[in-house]
């Protein structure tokens, strides 16, 4: 069963401590052991791989040496034939036959080792995939556990401070109160702006002499004189 399935089953069964539920079912320990085993097996496979590859290189070197020897001896045989020394040529040909036998042996070794290298590489790849899968699954379990613990702590913490996590209604009310306050501030700002703008108009009118309470001394004198008449 996959880890997700196990968690789901535990949830449906009303299990609170998810991490415990899965640890207790031994699943997590088996995973951890399998990861350790897979890592060891990768290490072993890598050691074997270097050894096999070294042996393969050795065999390949032998093969190319033999190929060279065969070619040189073919040259010798040809020269012996040129000198009409049939007996010598036959002896050389015998040597070539030995070389070819050896080469066949070494070719077989190279082929076998090539097969082993491929097998080991496939094995390593498989083990690496297993590790990645198990680690991802383990992380699912651990995350579930962490989130539960975190939630419990958050709940406990707010309880310790004589409060509870806000209900949705409380949060909504807070948000709305904030929005209203902001709206009020905006409106107050606009009102102030208008007032300032109004004062500004007054001062402009005064400057232009169109509006204003400050009468000049001459005006006042004129008014007093007018009153006397």
């Amino acid at each position: 069963m996959s880890v997700l399935n196990k968690i789901w089953t535990a949830l449906r069964g009303g299990v609170r401590e998810m991490g415990d539920a899965i640890v207790d079912s031994n699943g997590i320990r088996i995973f951890e052991q399998e990861i350790i085993d897979a890592k060891n097996s990768i290490q072993q496979a890598k050691t074997n791989l270097t050894e096999v590859m070294a042996r393969k290189m050795q065999a390949e070197r032998k093969v190319s040496k033999l190929v060279e020897d065969i070619r040189t001896h073919e040259g010798y045989a040809s020269k012996a034939l040129d000198q009409s020394d049939e007996a010598l040529a036959l002896e050389v040909a015998g040597k070539i036959a030995t070389f070819e036998g050896e080469k066949r042996e070494q070719d077989a070794i190279v082929a076998r080792l090539t097969g082993q290298v491929e097998q080991l590489k496939a094995h390593i790849k498989k083990a690496e995939k297993l590790i990645a899968d198990h680690e991802r699954e383990l992380s699912i379990v651990r995350t579930t556990e962490s989130v539960q613990k975190a939630t419990e702590q958050v709940v406990e913490n707010v309880a310790a401070n004589n409060s509870t996590l806000n209900t949705a209604r409380e949060s909504l009310e807070r948000i709305k109160a904030r929005q209203e306050l902001k709206q009020d501030q905006l409106e107050a700002g606009e009102l102030l702006d208008k007032e300032f703008a109004g004062n500004d108009l007054d001062s402009k009118l005064e400057e232009a002499g169109i509006k204003g309470e400050t009468a000049s001394a001459a005006d006042i004198l004129a008014r007093i004189k007018a009153g006397k008449q």
Partner: protein
């Protein structure tokens, strides 16, 4: 210094797109950091870092706050909204409906700031959408 402690210090100093972050570590076995985003302070975010993820969670409400006969409808609505909601998803943790964001532990500090602000905004929107389902 743990990653959460580093984050606490960085968040305390930054002003990201006009928002500041008020951080409060929560005591306990699991390292949890409460983050309050300025201007979005009605929905505190709780940050937990596991070996693979940075988890940011806001608690919307308890399941018991929802009209019982509309629970199934709400669950379906949340699943339908999930993909469209930027950077966050709905979930249930224990008895709580939550909105959360999950990031790789290798995420940059800027990504984390962006996540926190987006999450808080999403939580505001989610709460408003939730209102009609409340008891």
């Amino acid at each position: 210094m743990t990653q959460i402690q580093e984050l606490t210090i960085q968040l305390g100093q930054v002003n990201y797109e006009g928002h500041t972050f008020n951080c409060l570590p929560i005591q306990g076995e699991q390292e949890v950091l409460q983050v309050i985003v300025s201007e979005l302070d009605a929905m505190p975010i709780f940050v937990t870092i596991t070996d693979t993820q940075i988890l940011c969670i806001t608690y919307l409400c308890k399941q018991s706050e929802i009209q019982p006969q509309r629970l199934a409808d709400l669950n379906k609505t949340m699943l339908e909204l999930n993909v469209a909601m930027p950077l966050s998803s709905f979930a249930i943790v224990e008895d709580y409906y939550v909105v959360f964001g999950a990031m790789a532990t290798s995420s940059s500090f800027n990504d984390t700031c962006k996540e926190l602000i987006t999450l808080a905004s999403n939580a505001y929107d989610a709460l408003e959408a939730l209102e009609e389902y409340l008891i």
